[in-house]
């Protein structure tokens, strides 16, 4: 069927969807089982099987229904919740507490996350040292593995990392879906530049003080992962800032606006990923021949990447994280995944299949470890 016709659909038959899901089934099977399924521990086997089923059923449904965001979001939110569960359980197991002490800092025992990366670059270039108290090659949240994972993902997906790879994004994505209609509709466009201001500030302060200032003072996700032991007024103020930012930007504002406000207004890594959108081959395009300018996509976009002027001129801004929400709401499939250099409106199915495979595979591989641990933990609680 012609891609530009109004009746054009991305839905596939059951058999075709299964066929398209086969590569994902095989790769995730090898990754989750390590190539050799082990049934010696029944609870672990059940946890692995449940994760394998979850991942592949969601991927199958993306092809079968032609919808992207609703199934991506399920795995993305589970990923965020399970990662927090894994991190907290690991810390309680190793330290008996969610908080870290000065001794943990001195012994470089702090788990590394990708949000530190913007603050590491300038000090690493000038001092040849990493300003984060973590392990370089550690098996759990080591610096080297996280940097490589982020670098590969951001070069391939650009800001797609924020909707397919970030293990925090699922928090505000989840809260932004709780209400059907937003309470707060008018938000000044200027705020979408805030992450660049945060990036500027934290890069400068980290370079001058050689301390990862974002982690030290601003990161809202300290509230659901780890935090500095409260032993002074300063650490108490920091804890207050973390909790306030989490409550405001990750819970309250996403519920009120139906937007991912932490990702849109604060995250400095999001600013870097926005810049990397310029070089990634994958993008979202608007087929002007099919677009009726209903602007449903503008209202749906959780990251302020679409506006009416952009839709009229057929342009999606660099803020796009390729989450697929606009694709799902478009009544004419006028907005679609595309590859740079290929004219909009053409190769819609091929582009979607390719981008879905790459993005979903990254998320599935990245998320499955923590989901297995979480399911296993829940099974332990039940049995």
């Amino acid at each position: 069927m012609d891609n530009t016709l109004p009746g054009f659909s991305l839905r596939k038959s059951f058999g075709k969807s299964l066929l398209y899901s086969l590569p994902m089934i095989l790769i995730t099977f090898v990754f989750i089982s390590g190539g050799r399924p082990d049934f010696s521990d029944p609870l672990s086997a059940i946890a692995s099987l449940a994760t394998f089923m979850l991942v592949n059923v969601l991927y199958f449904l993306m092809h079968y229904t032609g919808k992207t965001d609703r199934f991506r979001a399920v795995l993305f939110i589970i990923f965020a919740l399970s990662l927090s569960f894994t991190l907290i359980s690991n810390m309680v197991e190793t330290r008996n507490s969610m908080s870290f002490s000065q001794a943990d800092i001195l012994e470089c025992k702090i788990p590394f996350c990708h949000l530190v990366i913007p603050m590491m670059i300038i000090p690493a270039a000038f001092t040849k040292s990493i300003i984060f108290p973590g392990t370089i090659l550690g098996s759990f949240a080591g610096i080297a593995s996280m940097v490589v994972l982020w670098l590969v993902a951001t070069l391939v997906l650009g800001r797609g990392f924020c909707s397919w790879g970030c293990f925090y994004g699922g928090w505000d994505d989840g809260f932004s879906r709780l209400r059907k209609k937003p309470l707060l509709k008018k938000i000044n466009d200027i705020w979408k530049w805030m992450p660049f201001a945060v990036l500027l500030m934290v890069s400068l302060t980290a370079a001058l003080s050689l301390v990862p200032t974002y982690c030290d003072w601003i990161c809202p996700f300290k509230a659901v992962t780890e935090f500095e032991e409260v032993t002074s007024v300063e650490s108490a103020v920091k804890a207050g800032v973390f909790i306030s930012l989490f409550a405001g930007l990750v819970v309250v504002l996403p519920v009120m606006t139906r937007k991912r406000t932490q990702c849109s207004f604060l995250c400095p890594l999001g600013a870097i990923n926005t810049l990397s959108n310029k070089i990634t081959p994958f993008t979202v395009k608007i087929d002007k021949a099919s677009c009726t300018e209903c602007f449903k996509c503008v209202a749906a976009c959780p990251l302020f990447a679409l506006n009416q002027e952009g839709i009229k001129s057929g342009k999606v801004s660099v803020f796009c994280s390729k989450c697929g929400k606009c694709l799902d709401v478009c009544p004419n499939n006028a907005i679609h995944y595309g590859i740079k250099g290929v004219p909009s409106g053409t190769m819609k199915k091929f582009s979607r299949n390719l981008i879905l495979f790459v993005s979903f595979l990254f998320m599935a591989v990245f998320a499955s470890g923590s989901i297995i641990i979480t399911v296993r933990g829940l099974l332990d609680l039940i049995f």
């Binding site: 530049w193 805030m194 660049f196 201001a197 400068l204 302060t205 003072w217 007024v233 300063e234 103020v237």
Partner: protein, 187 residues
């Protein structure tokens, strides 16, 4: 830390800096070193009591940070270059030096904040170091100007600068409040 985004959001003319940038920066450095000594001396003379030494900077941080936030949100601020009178100087070689001095003494909220920091430092070397960082941070912006002078005209950079200025203000308000309620903050 503060003046870099502050300048980014400003609209003062900088074209002439491209000619004698080094003289301009040198004169700024001298003025800042002078201000470091003055602020440290004033702090040492007047902030003798330990309680006063913590309370006064805490209050000043909050006041000046509020001014910085006001600068960021006030869209009707005076946009004319404060160094306009320098154009009346006939000696062309002295112009960048005069500009450097005037630019350094443009008492903005950011400079007030760093003066407060200089006054609350324990030793002269710490005060000098604080001003050195301030000089470096505030000079970075000038370095690419001869090559990329048009950068500043772009609306988006001005927007980011304004937001960063406001953010710096919020950080200093928190810093001031923390100091006031008994915390000590490094950096």
């Amino acid at each position: 830390m503060v003046l870099f985004p502050y300048l980014m959001s400003g609209t003062a003319g900088v074209k002439r800096i491209t000619i004698d940038l080094s003289f301009f920066l040198l004169s700024r450095m001298v003025v800042y070193a002078f201000l470091a000594v003055i602020s440290w001396y004033l702090g040492k003379t007047f902030l003798t009591n330990q309680v006063v030494r913590e309370v006064v900077p805490g209050i000043l941080y909050i006041v000046f940070a509020m001014m910085l936030i006001w600068y960021a949100v006030d869209r009707n601020r005076q946009k004319e270059c404060p160094a306009k009178f320098v154009t009346t100087v006939n000696n062309r070689k002295l112009i960048p030096v005069f500009l450097g001095v005037v630019n350094s003494l443009g008492f903005c909220p950011a400079l007030f904040l760093i003066l407060t920091k200089g006054a609350s430092e324990g030793s002269l070397s710490e005060s000098l170091l604080a001003f050195l960082f301030f000089f470096i941070g505030s000079s970075l912006w000038f370095l690419p100007l001869p090559l990329a002078g048009k950068l500043k005209k772009k609306k988006v950079f001005e927007t980011i600068g304004i937001l960063a200025t406001g953010l710096a203000g919020v950080i200093f308000v928190i810093k001031g409040l923390t100091i006031l309620i008994g915390g000590k903050i490094n950096g």
